[in-house]
């Protein structure tokens, strides 16, 4: 269970991990202190373990910097939900074991209590008493997610099983 932090459309990786902090690229705990700073400054100090980042369309567009999903995870976020995701960011989430789910986030409000049922393909909004369905991922992606990321997946499987 975690609270929803709402974000708008087109949250870029520059908004998540700003270029002006690029000098912290090899110091992830310090970089994580600036997570989403330019989108909602109060997030980085207010986020609690288990909370959800809830975006609109095209979440994570822009740079390939994997630091963006990694510092979201380091902030304690349990899941990123959005109407749609940008391609590289989505794959980076899965590769780091971060659930990224595509749902109609208009139905979720700021502060709603959310529960993720990954296997059941449901995001439950406990505050509203609604269940939001998300489409299943390709098997390779759900396997990578379940393994906790791409590195543990490959250590286990010794290759890609499509």
């Amino acid at each position: 269970m975690g609270r929803a932090w709402k974000f708008g459309d087109d949250i870029s990786t520059d908004l998540i991990a700003a270029g002006r902090y690029a000098y912290l690229r090899t110091n992830l705990p310090e970089l994580a202190k600036h997570v989403l700073e330019d989108a909602r400054d109060e997030f980085r100090t207010g986020v609690k373990p288990g909370d959800f980042v809830v975006g609109g369309r095209n979440f994570g567009l822009g740079s390939s910097r994997e630091h963006a999903p990694i510092i979201i995870k380091m902030a304690g976020v349990s899941c990123v939900a959005a109407k749609t995701f940008a391609r590289i960011f989505f794959r980076n989430c899965i590769n780091n074991g971060i659930p990224a789910v595509t749902v109609d986030t208009d139905r979720i409000d700021e502060g709603d209590e959310l529960v993720l049922d990954l296997r059941g393909g449901l995001l439950k909004d406990v505050t509203k008493g609604i269940e939001l369905e998300f489409p299943p991922m390709p098997k390779v992606m759900s396997d990578i997610l379940e393994a906790g990321g791409l590195v543990p997946y490959l250590k286990k499987n010794k290759g890609f099983v499509l």
Binding site: D14, A22, A86, I88, N95, P138, L162
Partner: protein, 418 residues
């Protein structure tokens, strides 16, 4: 059965026929990282515990984002990259060599290749008829270590551009117009496949501008067919034997067709803070937008031809008071040619400053960070909030000629007057 370029190139690397929507493991011909994403890739390769690199001649490390470095932390990261290159034997392009994609375009990328890079603008290699896509550090770590990756074969969007581009209108205006039309997520997960007589008329730098910004529409790749322009580019870079024929199949199945009449295009500008927030230069919003910094460079407009277009506007002119002009050549080869052909003199006489080759101010870490409330017109590819290092500044995207005209007038300006 006719195929899209993405289907053809992916099939060739999967060892079987692959169609849009199918998942496949592919052989990777070349994998690379830059200094933002590279240190993390090196950590992931260590975690994987396999080979450092599958093939050192098919792997490269670039120091282009902070080139040279302005921060001690970044410099220390650079040491890690150099040590990895030395230990693995992979190719190393240190400070001053230039932007990864542009250097590869000069030296490595060839028609028919499949490349992955830990940089979103890797897609610009598609200008040479290759399948090139940006991925995160971990995916590229796997490609570097194993020579493989997995991917979904994307659906293709046919972008058909026909007619003659008018004076002062360039490839940059085509791609800004396209993204303004289909949106910043208008081609998510898809392959933008460029064709039509306008594209046939573009030289490689123009095609690079198009393919580079495919990702700004959400696309996985942007690809052009190969032709005499491709051949002469390869010849110019002393590797004509790398040429092969990559052509669009008649009857290939496209998810969507977008037609653009080049004759109707005018210089186009993306307003802050979204790439798809475009206006024709003739729009009322473009009147009286003061410009504090004009920026020439980036992976999208970093070849000689791009600077030449700006120099044509600036020759014999001076930038406006209150405006500064920052010029960042894309590669060392471009830098040298600009120096030898007198372009440096034109930019310097106009009041500009010339920086070392690389990504420069585009990623927002150095050499041209904006002040509070300042506006920049830039030939780069992104204008997200904070992109040029300050969330209280504003970035307008345009062609190099529009950047130059704006520098002269001190406000957003129409290059067709020059």
């Amino acid at each position: 059965m006719p195929m899209t370029l993405a289907e053809k190139l992916i099939s060739a690397h999967a060892g079987r026929e692959v169609r849009a929507g199918e998942l496949t493991v592919v052989k990777v011909d070349f994998a690379y990282v830059q200094d933002w994403t590279g240190p993390l890739t090196i950590d992931k390769i260590a975690e994987l515990g396999g080979a450092m690199v599958h093939d050192p001649l098919k792997t490269a490390i670039f120091i282009d984002h902070a080139s040279p470095s302005s921060f001690k932390e970044v410099s220390t990261g650079h040491i890690k990259l150099r040590q990895f290159a030395k230990a693995s034997g992979c190719m190393m392009f240190d400070i001053g060599e230039g932007v990864s994609h542009l250097v590869l375009g000069e030296r490595v990328t060839r028609p028919g290749m499949l490349m992955v890079g830990a940089d979103s603008h890797t897609c610009q290699g598609g200008a040479l008829g290759a399948f090139c896509t940006g991925m995160g550090s971990t995916d590229v770590a796997v490609a570097m270590s194993t020579g493989q990756t997995w991917m979904m074969c994307p659906e293709a969007v046919k972008v058909e551009v026909t007619g003659r581009l008018g004076h002062g209108v360039f490839a940059k205006d085509i791609i800004l117009h396209l993204i303004g039309t289909i949106g910043a997520d208008g081609a998510t997960y898809q392959s933008l496949e460029f064709m039509g007589d306008t594209i046939d008329g573009l030289t490689i730098p123009g095609r690079v501008t198009l393919a580079s910004m495919a990702v700004e529409a959400g696309a996985k790749c942007g690809i052009c067919a190969t032709d005499d322009h491709t051949r002469s580019w390869l010849r110019e870079h002393k590797r004509e034997s790398d040429y092969s024929e990559i052509t669009h199949d008649v009857g290939a199945k496209y998810a969507r067709v977008v037609s653009i009449d080049a004759e109707k295009l005018v210089p186009t500008v993306s307003f802050p803070h979204k790439v798809d927030n475009t206006r024709p230069i003739t729009h009322l919003d473009c009147k009286d937008v003061p410009i504090h910094q004009a920026y020439l460079g980036s992976s999208t407009n970093g070849y000689f031809e791009d600077f030449e277009a700006a120099a044509r506007v600036l020759k014999g002119r001076h930038i406006a008071p209150g405006t500064r002009l920052v010029v960042t050549p894309g590669t060392k080869t471009v830098y040298r040619k600009m120096m030898e052909t007198g372009l440096f003199d034109i930019f310097l006489d106009a009041g500009g400053v010339i920086n070392s080759p690389g990504c420069g101010a585009c990623p927002g870490s150095h050499t041209g960070i904006l002040g509070d409330g300042e506006n920049c017109v830039s030939s780069m590819n992104r204008n997200f909030l904070g992109r040029m290092g300050n969330p209280k500044s504003f970035v307008y995207l345009a062609s190099p000629a529009t950047v130059a005209a704006s520098a002269v007038e001190g406000r957003l300006a129409d290059p067709r007057r020059y």
